[in-house]
Symmetry: C2
Subunit: 317 residues, 2 copies
């Protein structure tokens, strides 16, 4: 999928203002520093890997005025005119297993956001070392990097995905009446399912994916959108994927949805339920679109919530 396709298709999807501001260049400093940060979860190591930063802006959000959007970001000490959401993937290492949770855009949003391969390489892990690719869902910023020129980027990885996402995105007939952007999203997902067809593993509930790694279906954003709970000893971390896309705004106002939600009302209900749970438990979360490294606990604040970035893990770095 080429950037040009997104540019030309965006107006059909009612998101005309998005693509022009989508990409933010990765710096070309002489010695690029890896955007990769490790954290120990008991005996399991989780490494946040950045694919880049993305300016979504107010346009795709639903249920909030531009003024309120700006006010929430300003109160959170963020610039409403230049707020970047992260695009993060997470490498989970446990025993002999190397589980990559999502695979970045693979350039689906332009070459400026395609840093995951370099950041994965910085950890010393090669694509062939990945044993499982856990796809939180089949959107292009999560599995665009799973294929390149139609070939599986991770030649030895089992693709693990919720059956509802496989069924929804994998069936071209579901999209014939939809905007072209959605058709392109589906085409990319179908390409991924094809490339990993002989190594596809689906789940339908809170299945154990590997020792200490349990899927957590979080439906709404897509039919099979799922998190991954990581637990070892007394430690735990939930990779919650796309529970928020513009974190300060959707934490303060969890009812705000985004144009990419397949079922917005269900996505909001799932978000409300999960936020209550992780705030109560102070469960550390990792967000696909929280600014790098995307690790935080969630605190109640007024009628909503806010993210408290995790302390840097000196021991695991």
């Amino acid at each position: 999928m080429k950037r040009r396709q997104f540019l030309s298709l965006a107006p059909a999807a009612g998101l005309a203002t998005l693509p022009a501001t989508f990409a933010r260049a990765h710096g070309d400093a002489p010695h690029a520093l890896p955007q990769a940060q490790r954290r120990a979860v008991g005996d399991i190591t989780v490494t946040a890997l950045s694919d880049g930063g993305i300016a979504l802006g107010h346009a795709p959000l639903q249920g909030i005025s531009e003024d309120n959007y700006a006010a929430i970001l300003t109160a959170a000490h963020r610039d409403p005119g230049n707020f970047l959401s992260g695009v993060n993937a997470f490498l989970v290492e446990t025993g002999d297993l190397k589980v990559l949770v999502d695979a970045g855009t693979g350039g689906a949003f332009g070459p400026e956001i395609d840093n995951l391969p370099a950041n994965l390489a910085a950890t010393g892990i090669a694509p062939a070392d990945i044993t499982h690719l856990f796809a939180t869902h089949l959107h292009p910023d999560h599995v665009g990097g799973a294929v390149r020129d139609g070939m599986a980027v991770f030649p030895n990885a089992e693709l693990v995905v919720h059956d509802a996402d496989r069924a929804f995105w994998g069936e071209p007939a579901n999209f014939t009446a939809m905007p072209e952007m959605m058709q392109n999203f589906a085409a990319l997902a179908q390409g991924v399912l094809t490339a990993y067809g002989d190594r596809l593993r689906v789940f339908e509930a809170d299945d154990e994916i590997a020792p200490g790694l349990t899927a957590m279906p979080l439906p709404g954003h897509t039919p099979g959108h799922s998190g991954l709970m990581i637990a070892s000893g007394d430690d735990s971390l939930l990779i919650w994927a796309d529970i928020v896309h513009v974190a300060p705004v959707q934490l303060a106002r969890p009812e705000v949805t985004i144009g990419f939600d397949v079922e917005p009302a269900l996505a909001a209900a799932t978000r409300a339920l999960l936020l209550d749970r992780v705030a109560t438990d102070r469960l550390m979360i990792a967000g696909s679109h929280i600014g790098f490294p995307g690790l935080a606990t969630i605190a109640r604040a007024g009628d909503g919530y806010l993210a408290i970035p995790a302390a840097f893990d000196y021991g695991a770095a």
Copy 2:
């Protein structure tokens, strides 16, 4: 200065519980990831460099009960039993100048906290490339890394330091009646002043150190303790050095001092004044002991303040 010296001298300084928990090992993962993070300040690039993390604990803090210490950290989603302060230095690159702001411990607190050399190397900068070493003050966790075996680690760097710190730490007679730990602190500082004796540059006020870089005396923690204001275009960043050592606690309760303060009352007054200013201006600050990367803005919260970690700078990374 050897770790053993600190261990044997700590009781004399009334900080018996400190050294046993001082050091936290740097991970020995196969591919260590640099703890270095860039940020653009206009045309100037600032790179946060970690030397390690340090468990200060409640013992050295003055003016707060252990219960209140624990309560503040718990409210900030931090573990009171295992809170690590950062030990950060900052590389400032502007034009042809490479200004290193502080030089880490150099092993003065044991080999576990001595990561600055590797993290500086990860940026592609060699010690000989450093044109200025701006010492915020002459404590061993800020200039221990400026010398190794009595030799200047940065052979081409001018050492820039406030004259009051040079005068205080540089005079052995000031310490003859002091605990041995202070005598050792002074001996290390004197070694640094000697090693850079022919390249020493002192300042006494808010002097311009280089274009866009202005010293900001912040006395109390030491007589010459100083920040460095970095300004370029509409951007600015204040490296505020040791305004806080246990950030959540001393932001919530700015009157809390630490046993390393030479003039605690003045340190608290300076902290109160500066916090009011940076909160009012939303000036971004970089802290020597705020968890890596140590970049934040400061918000008022109740009767005190809290730090809001800076957004990751995708463009500069």
